[in-house]
Amino acid sequence: MTARAALLLFADGRLPAGGYAHSGGLEESVRTGRVRDAQSLESFLEGRARTVGLVLAAFAARSCRAARDPDPLPELEVLDAELDARTPSPAQRETSRQLGRQLHRLLTGMAHHPLLERLPRAPHQPLVLGAACGLYGLRPLDAALAALHESVTGPAVAAVRLMSIDPFRTHAALARIAPSLDRLAERALEHCDGSPHDMPAAAAPLLDVVAEVHATRSERLFAS
């Protein structure tokens, strides 16, 4: 039997791991006027998926595969450093580690996981997500999908608080980009083997800039 239900658990926005406090750069993008309507929101989401989303998905998928090895820790450690190298914004590195730590805290609070308990204190979020998928019997493709799903649903849900848009339109945008998430997940899988130094590095430089500016704001609804 193929595990499936656990994937829904990890992809659920209600997963109590603190993700709701983040907008994935949307808040600052709305503030600067780059995202202002349903159309520009959809472009933002799709752009995020194709760049950051793909990278996160590849790291999640590979961490999922690694979690089934006899000793995944050395590979997870390399992946952690590789993801650092692909995240130029210090604020974004910090956010990723904070989210990773929160997911880690949740997972270790849910059950005893010898592997997770040996992870360093604040690993990047997609590594924890991927490892968790592996531990719950899911496949690397599932982990990639979960990472991609999260990379767009977080900002889409934040959108209804940040701009004048109703939730039907945000979800219509999510539904329209769903096929491209499927394609991106397949592409992420191509990086499950081979040298970890060759992991993808698709970037959205403006998201990095936005993350840095957002971190300096004294008034904001979302933490990132």
């Binding site: 603190g18 709701y20 406090a21 949740l106 904001r220 609804l221």
Partner: protein, 226 residues
């Protein structure tokens, strides 16, 4: 079980005096208890800044959780950020005796998760009017302590404090209600005495947490306020 601090939640609507109550407790009890504070704000770290500015605790003992405009979620549905903030602080500056967690205060229905705090105070103020107590909600009905704050203002807002307290006690089946004002030292002493007793019970393993969010299974109308 390793000894950890008593975790006391402070909930209630915005402006009722939660941050002030916490500052008052710190000012009056810092000599006898090692205290830390975690705040939950709607907009970044306003409350943490207020407490740091008040100088009642060192900056390392005041942590802010950013709640993504969902302060009620952060104390009940998804407590992970708060739990990490409390655990980090205990590890960094501990051992502590008391960690006060302030809620972001967005509505009457928000209560703390039993996974986050051992006990909670619900704060109302007289300026909100006497009706609020009657309107009720889980925090008003079942928090460990209901504080009716700013009683010094009662004459200016035409509120009968004794009546508000009596109605609070009735809505709570006799559980404690405290008329409080930081300008009335005897009421502050009562608050500190209540916390002291709770911290003592917690340290001795005698405190059994109750969850105001859960429906009461039986009524304790016969239980008298202590």
């Amino acid at each position: 079980m390793p000894r950890r601090a008593l975790r006391l939640g402070v909930a209630g609507p915005v402006g009722t005096g939660k941050s002030s109550l916490i500052a008052t407790v710190c000012r009056n009890m810092a000599a006898e208890l090692e205290i830390g504070v975690v705040t939950n704000d709607i907009y970044t770290d306003e409350d943490a800044r207020f407490l740091r500015a008040s100088g009642v605790l060192s900056a390392a003992r005041i942590r802010a959780v950013e709640t993504g405009a969902c302060p009620h979620t952060a104390i009940r549905d998804d407590i992970t950020m708060n739990l990490i903030a409390v655990e980090d602080m205990e590890r960094d500056v501990g051992p502590l005796d008391l960690v006060l967690v302030e809620s972001g205060g967005d509505n009457l229905t928000a209560t703390f998760s039993p996974g986050l705090v051992d006990a909670q105070v619900f704060v109302l103020d007289v300026a909100g009017g006497g009706d609020v107590v009657r309107k009720g909600g889980p925090g008003i009905a079942r928090a460990d302590l209901l504080a009716v704050n700013k009683v010094d203002l009662a004459p200016y807002v035409d509120v009968d404090v004794d009546r508000m307290v009596a109605e609070g006690a009735a809505a709570r089946g006799g559980a404690p209600v405290l008329a409080l004002s930081r300008h009335r030292p005897e009421t502050v002493d009562e608050l500190c005495a209540w916390i002291r007793r709770l911290a003592g019970d917690h340290a001795a393993g005698r405190h059994t947490p109750t969850d105001p969010g859960a429906p009461a299974h039986h009524h304790h109308a016969h239980v008298r306020a202590t």
